[in-house]
Structures are given as structure tokens and as C-alpha cells.
Symmetry: C2
Subunit: 339 residues, 2 copies
């Protein structure tokens, strides 16, 4: 099985990008960025310091972009999508702060993790602060339905992370169990981010459900491709180092596929390196060789492409406009960014 | 200066207790307890396991009691106070889980801390899960005003904890700075817990403000007396060990007073034991001697008594009934429980 590249490769069609979406949301996103800076303020200096470290570290802000674009595609002309998008980004930032503590990560987006500079304690507490601020902003929109969706997502994300803890370092994790984890820890926030755009625009339930499905499947694409990128040479271009997941002994889909398709000796390799954490310098190279041998990276992208198709179909009920086109292209971009 | 005991000591008046309040809220509290068990459920087994460990460890549930009693004193006859009280207890439990990670505590309410049994990672994440569940329950009540108050409290609590981190192990902390910390980390939730009772009962703003003030000042009483108990012999009766704060090098009001009133040699003792963390077996005994010498514990209780007076006066605008009497007695109980 080879990599499925939906379109644009090898002919004259330009590769899909996020540019159209970024340009459409640009004005709104500037206001979100202002909101992020304003709401991360506190007389307790450590809070803006730590929040700023993460906020300025060059994330793509794809989650708040989903909220903004969903609301706009639905014809929303009010102000509340700005606050909801800001709240979504704060929820994400809080999760990153807590994740770094949980994963004992040293790097985040190519920079030192906040916990390395300021300690686990401050990372936990500043995450809590940002979560509190996120809920305050949601309340300000007055939308109980948006609050319901986002508070549910907050619980599901945490539940997914606990689930991940309990399957961590188990190389015999099934693909289904892994999909359950990323459905909770990544896709839940993507799906809520998109859905609340339709909610705030007061669209009918079927359109809200379409956005929820679009976001959920895009989130799965995003995570699967992230997992593949961590083992592929392309990772270095994105300011990340190759093999972080391997060193942190994370069980991701490329590992799940390689383990299941591997020989007994190969399975022992995965057990030694990921379960027992006994790694030597050459192990990452060998891990990548095994993935190549078993098409684990290309098939991870192929799986992602499957969820990308679902995301695209979910949007089909919306009339065609520039926002919809940009959201569709975002799916293609997420699928192909590893190719 | 001696200990001020509001009343009941040395004559035939029985010592103030929480019994009247506990009895009045009993039926409601049983429903809260059911809600706590139900909402801490998850198919991810680690979640009810860890949540249950804390929930069953014998806390007094004073915060949800405040919500229940405030709502009832205001004549509330609906159902939403149960969900708000449950949400308040979940917010508190989440804070405890995160606190133990931040403080690196080994014990909580006389039992092993969750982080010792299940690790810091699970404690952070299960705390996040409970916080998400708390917000879900608040949303279910449909009260945006209660949501506003409790989400604000969540941010303030986290802010107070970060502030505490930045002043930690500074023996020259002023009483004002210390009061700012406990105003945020303890009093904010007490105040929100009481205020939302009035909000859900749809009482006028002056009554909501009275409950907010009652809760805030009761929270300060509660924390100050806790600080004194940690150094007093009475602590052992409450299932806690004496000197936890000393061993964890926490700067509390008894330390602030002893440090400021002490000689140069005594200040060096506090610096060595709390700032440098260089403690020997006899240091706790000497610390208690210094507190005795400078009336630091009795004056901490006297300070608590001052805030207790404010709490009582705040309730004065409410007509007299059994609920109000029980809430007033709760103040006296909190002030005198260390005597």
C-alpha cells in the first residue's frame, strides 16, 4: 500500500495549504490574538510570563481558526465567535501545559517546555488559570449551548489523557484503543471548536452536527499525521525534532501497525525500546527502518486520508462559498502535510 | 494578647458545632453525595478510583454545605442547588489533587496522597476531569450568573496558588501578602459557594453580596484556623499530623507573626528551616516554642475571630430562621475549633 495523496502532487495543481483559511480569518484572528494577550494578564507576573511563552511559541492556532471559520461560513455577523475562539485556544494551551507535566517533556514546539523553565508546579497552576479564564469568556457569550459543548469537551479530553496513561507503554495496544484515545484527547476539542461556530450562529441542529463531525474527523487527521511526522524526515522542517514520541515511549499508530505486522524479534525490539524504555543511539534509526518495511507511516497517512474524506463529506450540506472551500482545503492540507 | 473565644467556653453554653447545619442540610447532602459518586464515574477505571480515594477520605464538605444552606435560607425550593453544590465540591477536589502535586505532599487528610499511589500524572488529569464535570453540572442548571461566579472563582483560585508559589519560602512575607494568597486560594471558593446559593434562589443583589461576603470571611477564618491547628496539639485529634506545614516549608500566618516578632537569631532559625529547608528533628518543637513565646497561634485565632465577626455581620440583613442560625454557628465553630 502506498501513500494516498488526494490531489495536487505530480501535476500543476498547487499543493493544498492553509493560506486561504488564514487569509479569510485574518481580521478575526488578530482580535483573537489581542484577546489572548489581554486574558493571559494577571498581577501575578508568573502567569503572563508562562502563558506568553506558550502563546508566542508559534502554534498554528488551527483550533480557534475552526471556530472563526465555522461561524463565518454559517453567516454569523456578531462578536461572540472571537471570545469562543479565544476560549478554545486557552483550553488548548492549558492542555499543553498539563501534558508537558504528564509526559515529562523537555521540549514543546522546538522550545524548552514551560515545566523545564518554571517547574511542574507553575505549569499545572497556570494551566488551571487559563482554563478558568476560558470558562469566563464562554460565560460572557451567554451561550449555554456553547458552554455545554466546551465543558463536555474539557471532561472528555482529560478522560482521554487518563486513558492514554493507562495504555501507555503497551505495545500490544490495538488500533481501536488508540483511535479511542485520540478521539478524546485531540478530536474532541477540534469537534467542539467547529461545532460552537454553528451554535453561536444559531444554525439548525443538522448543520451543528455537520460541523461537529467535520471537526472531529479533521482532528483525527491532524493527530494521525502528527504521529507519522514524528518519525518522518519532514519533521525537522517544522521546527520539531524527529523521534520525540519514540524517546518519550509513546504508543502511536505507526508503532501499533509496525508491532502488529512485525516478526517476533521485531516485537521484542518494540517491547525493549518502548515498554522497558531500554534505548540505544541506533534504535530510532532501526525503528524508522521497521516502519518503512511495514508501510507503517504511509498507511498511517492512508488512514488519515480516510477520516479526511469523512470530514469533507460532512461539510457537503453547506452551500458553496469561500469559507467552505477554505475549510475543505484545510482537510487536504492536514492530510498531505506529511507527504 | 490572649485567645478570643466568642462564647461557650468556661460556662454551661455548649461549644459551637456544625451539628445544626449538618442536620439541616442532611437530605440535600445525601443527594449531593449521590451526585458526587455518579459524576465521578467513567469507563476509564482510574478516574472513579482516584476520585473515590479523595471523595471517601472524610472531608467535611463544608463548601457544598454553604451552597445548600445559602439557597435554603433564601427560600429556594428547586433542584439546582444540588448540582451547584456537587460542582463546588468537584472544584474543591480538583484543587486538592493539583495542590498535592504542586506541594509534593505525601499525605492528604491522614491518608496517602493520590499522587503517591497513582502518580502526579494521573492526579493532574483526574483533577482536570473533575473540573470539566463541575462545569458540565453548572451548565445544566442554566444559570449563567452562577457560571460566571464559579468560573471566576476557578481563575482566582489558580491565580492565588501561583502567587503562593512565588512567595513560597520567603519568611519575610508580610501579613498582607499572606492574606492576599488565602483570599484567593481558599476564600474565593467559600465565597462563590455561598453566593451561588443566593443566585439560584434569585435573591436581590444585596443578599447575594451578603452571602458572598459571609463566604469570603468564613473562608479566611477556616484557613487561618487551619494554619494554627497545624502547629497545635489539637491537630492530632483531627486525623492530621502536627507540623505538616513546617515540614513542607509553608509560610503561614503563625510563621509570619513569629518571624516579624522574633529576634535576629530567631529569624535565622526560620530562614534556615523554611527558606533553606535545613531541618533537624528538634526544630518543630523549637518552632512551636517560638510561636508560644510570641503568641503567634493565639493571635492567629484572634485574627480569625475578626473575620468571623465580619462574616456574622454580613448575614444580619437576612430574617432570622434556623438556616441563618446554623450558618452563624458555623462561623463560631470554625473560629473555636482550634481552642
Amino acid at each position: 500500500m502506498g501513500v494516498v495523496i488526494p490531489f495536487g502532487a505530480g501535476d500543476d495543481t498547487p499543493a493544498p495549504s492553509l493560506d486561504a483559511l488564514v487569509e479569510l480569518v485574518n481580521d478575526d484572528m488578530n482580535r483573537v490574538n489581542d484577546g489572548i494577550l489581554a486574558r493571559a494578564q494577571s498581577h501575578v507576573e508568573l502567569i503572563p510570563e508562562i502563558a506568553g511563552h506558550l502563546i508566542n511559541s508559534g502554534g498554528k492556532r488551527i483550533r480557534p481558526m475552526l471556530t472563526l471559520a465555522s461561524a463565518r461560513m454559517c453567516g454569523y455577523a456578531g462578536e461572540h465567535h472571537i471570545k469562543l475562539a479565544t476560549a478554545v485556544e486557552f483550553m488548548h494551551t492549558a492542555t499543553l501545559l498539563h501534558d508537558d507535566v504528564v509526559d515529562e517533556s523537555d521540549l514543546r514546539r522546538g522550545k524548552q517546555a514551560a515545566r523545564v523553565i518554571w517547574g511542574n508546579q507553575a505549569s499545572v497552576l497556570v494551566g488551571d488559570y487559563l482554563l478558568g479564564q476560558a470558562f469566563k469568556m464562554m460565560v460572557e457569550t451567554g451561550s449555554l449551548e456553547a458552554l455545554r459543548i466546551l465543558s463536555h469537551a474539557a471532561a472528555v479530553i482529560a478522560e482521554g489523557e487518563v486513558l492514554q496513561l493507562s495504555i501507555s507503554q503497551d505495545t500490544s495496544t490495538t488500533e481501536d484503543a488508540y483511535m479511542q484515545v485520540i478521539g478524546a484527547k485531540t478530536a474532541a476539542l477540534f469537534s467542539a471548536a467547529a461545532e460552537v461556530g454553528g451554535v453561536i450562529a444559531n444554525r439548525p441542529r443538522d448543520e451543528q452536527a455537520a460541523l461537529e463531525s467535520y471537526g472531529r474527523n479533521l482532528g483525527i487527521v491532524f493527530q494521525l499525521v502528527d504521529d507519522a511526522l514524528d518519525y518522518s524526515g519532514k519533521q525537522a522542517n517544522l521546527g520539531k525534532s524527529v523521534g520525540d514520541d519514540f524517546r518519550e515511549r509513546k504508543i502511536t499508530l505507526p508503532v501499533v501497525l509496525s508491532f502488529r505486522r512485525g516478526s517476533k524479534e521485531e516485537r521484542n525490539f518494540w517491547k525493549r525500546t518502548l515498554e522497558e524504555g531500554n534505548q540505544t543511539d541506533d534504535d530510532l534509526i532501526y525503528a524508522r527502518k521497521l516502519m518503512e518495511k511495514h508501510d507503517a507511516l504511509s498507511d498511517t497517512i492512508e488512514r488519515a486520508s480516510h477520516y479526511g474524506d469523512i470530514a469533507r463529506d460532512a461539510l457537503a450540506i453547506f452551500p458553496d462559498n469561500a469559507w467552505k472551500q477554505a475549510l475543505l482545503e484545510a482537510v487536504d492540507f492536514c492530510v498531505t502535510r506529511a507527504c
